[in-house]
């Protein structure tokens, strides 16, 4: 293959970037901890110190969650863009986030009284995570059932979008009839957050993301061929139905898990695969998968760092930051493409 060394250098660069951003994310915060202090605390056993509590109970879960979210959404986005052969597809085109939102809306808005008063702490609770998971799982089941019957991938894409819009409408109705505090709690959930995942929940989110990644790796070979269109892929020996099912399950595991814990987080999933394609100038899915993992982690960690507004006490909603970072990328890509066509 051409320029394999160039590809290797780029991957190493992305790994380094992700590592530096991870470390920066750990080091930043209201409590001023030096580089050596963070390093020392990370591996020390003194569980009584404030530094240990800050790092192990707050910053590490938060940084790891950002890492997982970045990886999950970027890999899902890459898979969706490949399977639908549409550059604007993202992790949420199947309606997974809508399903999760419906689950959460039913709990928060339907039984809103339960959460009145502690609106800011809802996004980490197991009840909500379970509700979101069930919501996105139901969507997956419906999508899979439909995908076995509908041959045309475009029809499937349109059905996914219609389905998501339908669920949003149901959520609107729930919102309309719910009380003020429940409504606020729900709205805050939809803004996304990486800071409410507890240490105990990390292994769960990690397992979900890991399982999704394994499946994504298994379909890499088929994803390469699917870029030539499904007709051509079939004549190369691919079972399209099985391929689609595996991609949908992988995406649901990845996106469903992180959305359940952190709420819907926009634009990372659409922007990162494009950044990787531009950076690597290849269509090889193996390389793009690897790149998306580290570029996704980096961009999400960067978003988390920005959202903490270093030097201040306040925190921005993570969804606003990812959008503000992601939108220019998408716009830039569109303009670049325009130029290519004009040239």
């Amino acid at each position: 293959m051409p320029k394999p060394n160039g590809d290797r250098m780029r991957v190493i660069l992305l790994v380094l970037l992700a590592f530096i951003l991870f470390w920066t994310d750990l080091s930043l915060g209201s409590a001023d901890l030096s580089f050596s202090k963070v390093l020392e605390t990370l591996f020390s056993g003194d569980q009584e110190s404030t530094a240990w509590i800050t790092i192990h109970l707050f910053r590490l879960p938060r940084a790891l969650t950002s890492l997982f979210v970045g990886i999950a959404l970027s890999v899902s986005g890459l898979q969706m863009q490949t399977v639908f052969r549409n550059p604007l597809a993202g992790p949420y085109v199947l309606g997974i986030s809508s399903g999760a939102s419906l689950g959460v809306a039913l709990v928060v808005l339907g039984f809103g009284g339960l959460f009145a008063g502690n609106a800011f702490f809802i996004s980490g609770s197991w009840l909500l995570v379970t509700a979101a998971w069930i919501g996105s799982g139901m969507v997956l089941l419906i999508i899979l059932t439909v995908s076995f019957r509908v041959r045309d991938i475009m029809t499937l894409l349109i059905l996914g979008i219609m389905f998501a819009s339908g669920i949003s409408a149901v959520i609107s109705v729930l919102q309309y009839f719910s009380g003020e505090s429940a409504l606020k709690a729900f709205v805050i959930w939809t803004m996304g957050s990486v800071s409410n995942v507890s240490r105990e929940q990390l292994p769960v989110i990690g397992t979900g993301v890991f399982a999704g990644l394994i499946l994504a790796l298994v379909v890499v070979k088929a994803s390469n061929a699917i870029q030539l269109g499904e007709t051509q892929a079939k004549t190369l020996g691919i079972n399209i139905t099985r391929y689609r099912a595996m991609v949908f399950i992988s995406t649901s595991l990845l996106t469903g898990t992180v959305t359940a814990f952190c709420g819907p987080i926009g634009f990372i999933g659409i922007a990162v695969p494009h950044i990787c394609r531009m950076f690597f100038q290849t269509s090889r899915q193996g390389i793009l998968l690897l790149a998306s993992i580290f570029a996704g982690a980096s961009l999400m960690l960067l978003s988390d760092i920005i959202s903490q507004l270093p030097g201040t006490e306040s925190i921005l909603p993570i969804n606003a930051v990812t959008s503000l970072l992601g939108i220019p990328v998408v716009v830039w890509i569109i303009f670049r493409k325009q130029k290519l066509i004009a040239a």
């Binding site: 293959m1 051409p2 070979k221 390469n224 870029q227 030539l228 051509q232 020996g237 290849t282």
Partner: protein
């Protein structure tokens, strides 16, 4: 080079669309055969079922009745992965990702042979390179598909089928959207592949090119397919029967189509140079003149050649009008 055993056999194959309340058949009870090392050109008018037939041969579409045998195995009984090593298919219109390079496309031909993650070993890389070389697109290997011409894309697709290393290659309209030189280039490339031992089936609108290069034509005619060498089909008027119309007729000597004209007037032509005579004659035909040999034509045309010029003299009513080009001469003809 041309063996005699058959590689593909169609038995009572009917294709079309299943609908509620009966099937609508495009082609009925086909009994056809492809021999190893043949270049088969599939010809038919738009909507006659060319694509449907080819898609049926590569199992993208089910037949309504009958079966297709590859090396005497029913194609439905061959495992998909094995099938991909036996028959390569190029659909009309290539789909690709905008960052895909020619080499990446050709590499996908190795798909049926690589391991679970699609890793290319040394042997795969060698085969990919030789596929690029054979088709003559080595220097385009690292260009993006978005940056090359339609003809070059078609060649890249053909290189992909070579990397797939199948004895049989089937192409749907490989010459569509190409200009004439590119069309000839592609079909002569297919011809070359056949000489190197491949068997190729391709569909086309372009009768002329199919006649020139194919070992065998499959000619779609009213729900069935006539099979034979192009020459046989011209001589028994099969081709003429399908393609001739009120305005077009097949020239049985060249295999070209020409406008049917009623010759209104007669003219005699005297010319010593063969090529000049040929093109002058064509021009006169287009103007509606029949070139005759008799002694008393309405008009005589005498072509003379001086050192650097050709002069066309129209002789009529005992006067002679000289012209320096066919164009001017035609304008002056009554």
């Amino acid at each position: 080079m041309h063996g005699n055993d058959s590689i593909l056999k169609l038995e009572k194959l009917s294709i079309g669309f299943s609908q509620k309340g009966g099937n609508s058949l495009l082609l009925k009870e086909l009994a056809l055969e492809v021999k190893r090392g043949e270049l088969v050109g599939l010809i038919g008018r738009n909507g006659s079922g060319k694509s449907s037939l080819l898609r049926t041969l590569v199992r993208l579409q089910n037949s309504i009745e009958g079966s297709v045998f590859f090396n005497s195995f029913k194609i439905q009984d061959i495992h998909p992965q094995k099938f991909a090593k036996e028959i390569a298919f190029v659909p009309s219109g290539l789909e690709y990702n905008e960052t895909m390079t020619v080499r990446e496309l050709v590499s996908l031909g190795r798909f049926p042979y690589t391991n679970w993650i699609g890793n290319l070993n040394r042997n795969d890389l060698r085969i990919i390179q030789s596929a690029l070389d054979k088709v003559g697109i080595q220097e385009l290997a690292d260009r993006k598909l978005t940056e090359i011409s339609d003809g070059e894309k078609q060649k890249a697709s053909i290189a992909r089928t070579l990397a797939q290393d199948t004895p049989l290659i089937i192409l749907d309209e490989p010459t569509a959207y190409l200009d004439l030189p590119a069309k000839n280039d592609i079909v002569s490339l297919l011809h070359e592949l056949v000489n190197q031992g491949k068997t190729v089936i391709f569909s086309t609108h372009d009768l002329n090119i199919a006649i020139r290069f194919s070992d065998k034509l499959w000619l779609i005619s009213e729900n069935t397919i006539l099979q034979g060498s192009p020459e046989d089909l011209i001589l028994n008027a099969s081709i003429a029967g399908i393609f001739e119309s009120d305005r077009l007729r097949l020239n049985p000597m060249s295999g070209d189509f020409e406008l049917r004209r009623k010759a209104l007037k007669t003219i005699s032509l005297t010319c010593t140079q063969k090529d000049v005579e040929h093109w002058t004659r064509e021009a006169l035909k287009r103007r509606g003149y029949e070139v005759v040999r008799n002694e008393n034509p309405e008009i005589k045309l005498v072509v003379t050649k001086t050192e650097d010029k050709i002069i066309w003299n129209i002789q009529r009513f005992n006067e002679s009008l000289p012209f320096e080009s066919i164009y001017e001469m035609l304008q002056a003809l009554p």
